[in-house]
């Protein structure tokens, strides 16, 4: 293991690696908390493919055993597909983060407003049907919108995330909290001073709308 630590910084390309080498590298890197992908086609590559976080097996040249042990099968035996897989994988991860940030902000604001309204005005300013519209339909559409973002090549330039990377980053927490506070401020002003602000409009406007 000590030797491996010495080697891995210099190690870049390992030509004609035997299945044993593959297994050794996978085990070593995994011990050092790296995320490991391994490619292979032969039957004896199977342990390394299984051990790695994600195994890529060859679809055409690969044996059945290797395919069985791997996570992803490259149907066209083309290594470029790995880059594509990586790009889309990172994109999915980012999309989840985007949606989480959006959704948490919505719920944070809605929760606080419902609580403040309930505590001070004795009624929630948002009634159940409105909440349903926001939470069921609008958020579903928003998740659809944020999740269909096509991946960009920028994604390939950044460093890989560590295994312990938290799903909601510090930046996202900051954004959720302060964006939430901003929205709460605006909505709070509308809720408590709204009548004073909008009532002048009311007096001068004609209201044809009759309540049934």
């Amino acid at each position: 293991m000590e030797n491996f630590k010495l080697v891995r910084d210099q190690l870049c390309v390992l030509a004609r690696s035997s299945p044993d080498d593959k297994y050794l590298i996978t085990t070593g890197l995994k011990k050092l908390d790296h995320v490991v992908a391994m490619t292979g086609d032969g039957t004896n590559d199977a342990p390394a493919l299984k051990k790695a976080d994600i195994g890529f097996a060859m679809g055409i040249a690969g044996t059945e055993v290797a395919k069985e042990a791997s996570g992803i099968i490259l149907l066209d035996d083309n290594f470029v597909s790995i880059v594509t897989a990586m790009k889309w994988g990172r994109n999915i991860f980012d999309s989840i983060r985007k949606f989480l940030q959006f959704q948490l902000t919505v719920n944070f604001v809605a929760l606080v407003m419902a609580f403040v309204g309930g505590a001070i005005l004795r009624e929630s300013p948002l009634n159940p049907i409105q909440m349903l519209w926001v939470n069921l339909i609008m958020d579903t559409l928003a998740s659809l919108a944020l999740a269909t973002e096509p991946p960009s090549d920028e994604l390939l330039k950044r460093k890989p995330y560590s295994k312990r990377e938290s799903l909601i980053t510090s930046q996202m927490w900051k954004f959720i909290i302060f964006q939430g506070l901003w929205q709460i401020a605006i909505l709070g002003i509308i809720l408590f001073k709204g009548k004073a602000i909008f009532i002048q409009d009311l007096k001068f406007s004609v209201f044809p709308h009759q309540l049934v």
């Binding site: 980012d94 983060r97 985007k98 949606f99 940030q101 959006f102 902000t105 919505v106 604001v109 809605a110 407003m113 004795r122 009624e123 300013p125 948002l126 009634n127 049907i129 409105q130 519209w133 926001v134 609008m138 559409l141 928003a142 659809l144 919108a145 944020l146 269909t148 973002e149 096509p150 960009s152 560590s162 312990r164 990377e165 938290s166 909601i168 980053t169 510090s170 930046q171 927490w173 900051k174 954004f175 909290i177 302060f178 964006q179 901003w182 929205q183 605006i186 909505l187 509308i190 809720l191 709204g194 009548k195 909008f198 409009d201 009311l202 406007s205 209201f207 709308h209 309540l211 049934v212």
Partner: protein
Amino acid sequence: MSEWDDETGKHYSIFFNVFVLLQVFNEINARKLKSDEYNVFESFFNNKLFLVILVCTIIIQLTMVKYGGKSLKTVELSFKENLLCLLLGSSSLLSGLLLKVILPHHLIISLYGVELGESFKFYWKQPPADDEKEE
């Protein structure tokens, strides 16, 4: 709700409208998460579905407020008031940009962050000295 007349109805309609529109514009904010990505509109027109959903949500929202009636406890808003709501709603875009500019990078807020087992924490990270920077 206790008494629901035109006045309270209007008040709450505006509240509801602004609330939803704030979220809709915040949706655009969510496209870029990193603190150095100031332009949230980058490659905005690449994703047609995003635009369609954005426009549809706004249209459905305004229609809902207009025709919601008793079930939604909303009343019809004038064009001017709708415009005001849109304006207030889009302020979440502005605040999103402002937050990215003014919020300090060294403030760390995390829930079960980098090290497993850490609970909610809230602290200032010392900026790393030049020779200690990682790789």
